[in-house]
């Protein structure tokens, strides 16, 4: 009897030893947190090769700035500086006191957008809003829709109302300047109003291992036209972009650029084609980074932005802006009047 009980207890103890599959662990001190951050990016970040980043060299460079007695803010600054080397607007370190953010992807470029000019000088503050869409008819009988963020949901009914109202217009301007992205399902919902058949949106890929070049085969994905009975748009369209058109908004442009009758006007978009992933450090800081690259319908990366259609690259003229004229919007109006 005693032997049986002993065997049972030994089996029980053996079963509770949690050493089945090893998991790398990091200390919760400055060096441990730094190494955890470096390691998470090293094994999950998806644009090392595309951006020609030597992550080992960067790690060595910033590790030298880490020392045991440094404060949390000092460590945060070192980590933030290291992440800036990735030149990625989707990569942020979040602490209780700050969020690191690489801003040069838009701060080094002209803004090319002034919302007040449109509200005041083109609509005299007389525009409508439905869901996340602001819309109205310009005096040249051209419809105008501003979508400020793909994070704001759009209802199918809202789209029907907006497109019905604009149905008599000769053309449509979709203004997604300063649109920093949001939900890709809203991209699908909006694109679905401008296509007549199942359309290739692009390809999505993901890291399938910790190596810098471990990627799955790109998977093609499609968007279907909106359901029968929904209001569609078949007239010419100009999509307005600037450098702050980013992430899901960049994805919208990557699809719209290949749809017949659609032109992209303004400035190169900001990119942000990597679907963000989240992770965290032992001290509780969160880290977001690009983890899954999305390619356009031609299999091309849009991480560095999408150029406007040929002949449609326009910057806001400061003299125009001073006089209350939106140079890019004026260009789009002329394109639609041709």
């Amino acid at each position: 009897m005693k032997k049986l009980i002993a065997i049972a207890l030994l089996t029980l103890v053996a079963a509770t030893i949690p050493a089945c599959h090893k998991i790398e662990e990091f200390d919760n001190d400055p060096k441990g947190n730094f190494m955890a951050l470096w390691s998470i990016l090293d094994t999950h970040y998806c644009f090392f090769s595309e951006k020609n980043v030597d992550w080992n060299a960067i790690g060595e460079k910033y590790y030298r700035r880490v020392y045991p007695d440094m404060t949390q803010r000092e460590l945060f600054e070192v980590c933030g500086d290291m992440l800036d080397e990735l030149r990625d607007g989707h990569t942020n370190l979040s602490s209780g006191f700050d969020v690191s953010y690489y801003r040069k992807w838009w701060s080094d470029y002209p803004q090319n957008f002034n919302l007040r000019i449109i509200q005041e000088n083109y609509f005299n503050f007389n525009y409508m809003s439905a869901s996340g869409l602001t819309y109205g008819i310009l005096e040249q009988n051209i419809g105008y829709i501003r979508y400020a963020s793909f994070a704001q949901p759009i209802g199918e009914g809202n789209l029907d109302n907006v497109l019905s109202y604009l149905a008599s217009c000769n053309g449509l301007i979709i203004d997604i300047r300063d649109n920093g992205g949001g939900d890709l399902t809203n991209v699908e919902k909006l694109v679905a109003r401008f296509i007549t058949r199942r359309t290739l949106m692009g390809y999505i890929s993901h890291k399938n291992g910790p190596g810098h070049d471990d990627f799955s085969e790109p998977y093609e994905y499609y968007v279907e036209p909106a359901q029968q009975g929904r209001v569609m748009w078949g007239k010419p369209v100009v999509v307005l972009t600037n450098r702050s058109t980013f992430s899901a908004a960049n994805n919208f442009v990557s699809v719209m650029q290949y749809i017949p009758g659609v032109k992209i006007a303004g400035a190169r978009t900001g990119g942000g084609s990597g679907m963000p992933f989240n992770s965290e450090l032992p001290n509780g800081w969160g880290i977001r980074f690009s983890g899954s690259p999305v390619l356009d319908a031609k299999g091309l990366s849009t991480e560095n932005g999408i150029a406007p259609s040929p002949g449609c690259e326009v910057d806001m003229d400061p003299a125009d802006e001073a006089r209350g004229i939106d140079t890019i919007l004026e260009f789009a109006i002329k394109e639609l009047q041709k």
Binding site: L4, C20, I23, L184, Y219, P276, F277, S279, E280, S292
Partner: protein, 280 residues
């Protein structure tokens, strides 16, 4: 597959040999309802490199009955369990939830030993459906945990008395041997699966990539027809596939009620000569 055929043949043979005897026996059902509460450790490298610690709770229904074809030696058990875990990261600024639904069935051959000791060994199958949810993550907040396994199981039990109360002490380990389980690829978003990419999501389970163990220790204190069950339940799941490592461990205190029930058709009273063969 050969193993399955062999088991089926063995069962049919046993059934034929013991049919006559089975007609003279009554096989009560032992039903048990238990609540569990204890500690949980959740770790899934798809969601985070950090282990989360917290608490687990579960409700379990178990049903055991001697098999008709050979009630003295063969017993089946059915187990349905629903559980929930709540855990925090080491910095205690993020929360992970775990949910799970388990349905398991097994059949064991038992041997009565001297001193009211019974040992049993056999096999079974289990279906597990669940998920881990890390609230701080945006595009990768969930890691689904689904599996279907073929298990080895057994138990040792001892009928004795404690403070003059009849008690059954029992220890039952269950060890999945093979099966299939779900896992997304290394950094694959569920959005990509939603878009239709279903490649490489189901994986064969073997000891190298899927190790799980369930240990249940219980004491049934028999106060008349209703028994009080107290015990300890330990679960361990460790998987590594597509370079994603998962480790989930729980230690729970168990309390519940149990009893033997006889299901009879109206007016069908078993003859006095019937032999009652319990699952315990």
């Amino acid at each position: 597959m050969k193993l399955l055929h062999a088991i089926t043949a063995l069962l049919l043979l046993s059934a034929t040999a013991f049919t006559a005897r089975a007609e003279e026996t009554v096989r009560p059902v032992t039903s048990t309802y238990t609540l569990e509460a204890g500690s949980a450790h959740l770790h899934d490298t798809y969601l985070t490199p950090l282990g989360y610690d917290g608490m687990t709770t579960a409700f379990t229904y178990q049903r055991a009955q001697a098999m008709k074809f050979n009630p003295r030696h063969w017993v089946m058990q059915l187990r349905l369990s629903v559980g929930m875990d709540h855990a925090e990261n080491p910095a205690r600024n993020a929360t992970m939830w775990g949910t799970g639904l388990t349905a398991g069935w097994n059949m064991t051959r038992r041997w009565r030993l001297p001193h009211d000791i019974t040992v049993a060994a056999g096999g079974g199958t289990a279906l597990n459906l669940g998920a881990l949810y890390l609230t701080r993550n945006q595009n990768n907040p969930v890691s689904a945990k689904c599996s279907w396994t073929l298990d080895a199981t057994g138990y040792i039990s001892w009928n004795t008395r404690l403070l003059n109360i009849p008690v059954t002490l029992r220890y039952q380990p269950t060890l999945p041997l093979t099966g299939i389980f779900f896992s997304q690829e290394y950094d694959e978003l569920y959005y990509e699966i939603y878009l239709g990419n279903r490649r490489n999501l189901v994986h064969p389970a073997w000891a190298g990539n899927y190790f799980a163990m369930d240990n249940a220790v219980s004491a049934d204190l028999k106060f008349g027809s209703t028994w009080l069950r107290v015990g300890y339940h330990n679960t361990l799941l460790s998987t590594k596939v597509s370079a994603i490592t998962t480790r989930m461990i729980s230690h729970s205190f168990v309390i519940g009620i149990s009893g033997e029930w006889l299901s009879l058709r109206r007016g069908a009273i078993p003859p006095q000569s019937s032999t009652i063969i319990s699952a315990y």
